[in-house]
Symmetry: none
Subunit: 225 residues, 2 copies
DNA sequence: GGAGGACCTGAGAGCACGCTGAGAGACGCG
DNA sequence: CGCGTCTCTCAGCGTGCTCTCAGGTCCTCC
């Protein structure tokens, strides 16, 4: 569990370092914003503890740069209550939590733990049915080694069916879940898209993962057909 | 809950081992791919945590071998973010989730729990009468290992009778429950469909699950005939 | 033993359901 | 502005399910 502490005041940095290490964290220290960004670029951190008042690029700047680069690592901001920045502003520029100095180490630890807990379930695992797989987070899917190229609607349909394997899902349910709850168009659209999907995930492989249950709906075979 | 951790770095392996044991898991450690495959072949694991960088057969190799052998145990890949493998490639060769080093133990635990939740069988209640079974959610039924192919009306009829085993159900009741409450056609339809059902679920097996109670209705034997 | 009623079953008509190809409209991109 | 992609509508078609009907069988009761 790796934590980056960005803090220019030596005594505070040392205290936090010692405390976190005692709690089993692996700690890196950066004295200014530039060094912090360099470290973040080359290492993965579970949490970043970031002082706002820094020489050179301040914490505000660092945090925005991070977020702009698409890095979603949880950031905990440390602010001195001197009025230059309102504490609540921290949340506006991409921080996940803030703490005003002076702070007790116990509180800091509790906040870090909370951030770790919060960021834990960010990614859902891959959905599978036999050799058919779909990664909702990466928005990719395939059969075995072969990647499948689906349109957004096709992808949504397959994802829903993979979340309900070996279960018959009705066409109205599919309309409500994959299209809108208030969908008013021709329900035949479901049949059309099931047809599209089959031509991509089943026909080329001589399989039949999606089965028609006449009068009821469709079922995705948990073994992939 | 048994977990296999395939990791050659002693300190990481030890840390994960300690952490998972503290959470109540039973943990095995394998230092390389060969040992991992041997352990997997002889033990059943709920989850496999697999480092990509291993001496000898790497994680990529292990994962593919596993899947080729038809082993579907959830696999969580650990990758060092050094660019040799794209993390998302893991999904292509059969992993269920991935985590880049360094990772926090809290995150690892959350991911393992998510995988376990997903692979946990969420059984819907299956109706049974002897070796005759019917799964309403999957809309499937069969006798023993043999699957039965029923039409929607036949399926509805069998489902209703399975929900009322060893009970005489009248023809008017069947008409109301399996057809419409306001059914106005020829009541003979029930006899016709009971006949269809018998020819599919009884005759081929030399059984008689559906008994006629003359003047009253029909009864499905709870032992399947 | 015969009559009547209850149940079974084969044949076939009708049609509902689901599948598919063609194409229109919306949208983004160069 | 033209092109390609995606979404959705529409209509035609074939399959096979549902149901009716009529004749046959079996049971029950007089």
């Amino acid at each position: 569990m790796r934590v980056l502490v960005v803090e220019d005041e030596q005594n505070i940095a040392a205290a936090v370092d010692r405390g976190l290490r005692a709690e089993g964290f692996s700690v890196d220290i950066a004295e200014d914003g530039e060094k912090a960004l360099g470290l973040i670029r080359h290492n993965g951190y579970a949490v970043i503890v970031l002082d706002l008042m820094l020489p050179g690029r301040n914490g505000y700047d660092v945090c925005r740069t991070l977020r702009a680069a698409g890095i979603t690592t949880p950031v905990l901001i440390l602010t001195a209550k001197d009025g230059e920045y309102d504490e609540a502003d921290a949340l506006d520029f991409g921080a996940d939590d803030y703490l005003t100095k002076p702070f007790s180490f116990v509180v800091l630890l509790a906040r870090i733990r909370a951030l770790l807990r919060r960021s834990a379930p960010q990614r859902s695992p891959v959905l599978r049915a036999g050799d058919l797989w779909l990664d909702p987070a990466a928005h990719r899917c395939g059969r075995g080694d072969e990647r499948l190229d689906l349109t957004p609607r096709e992808f949504g349909l397959l994802e829903f069916m993979l979340r309900n394997p070996d279960t018959v899902v009705s066409k109205t349910e599919l309309l409500a879940q994959v299209w809108d709850a208030w969908f008013e168009g021709d329900p035949n659209i479901v049949e059309v898209y099931v047809g599209y999907l089959r031509r991509k995930i089943d026909t080329p492989f001589g399989r039949s993962a999606i089965e028609t249950v006449r009068g009821i709906g469709y079922r995705l075979d948990a073994k992939g057909g």
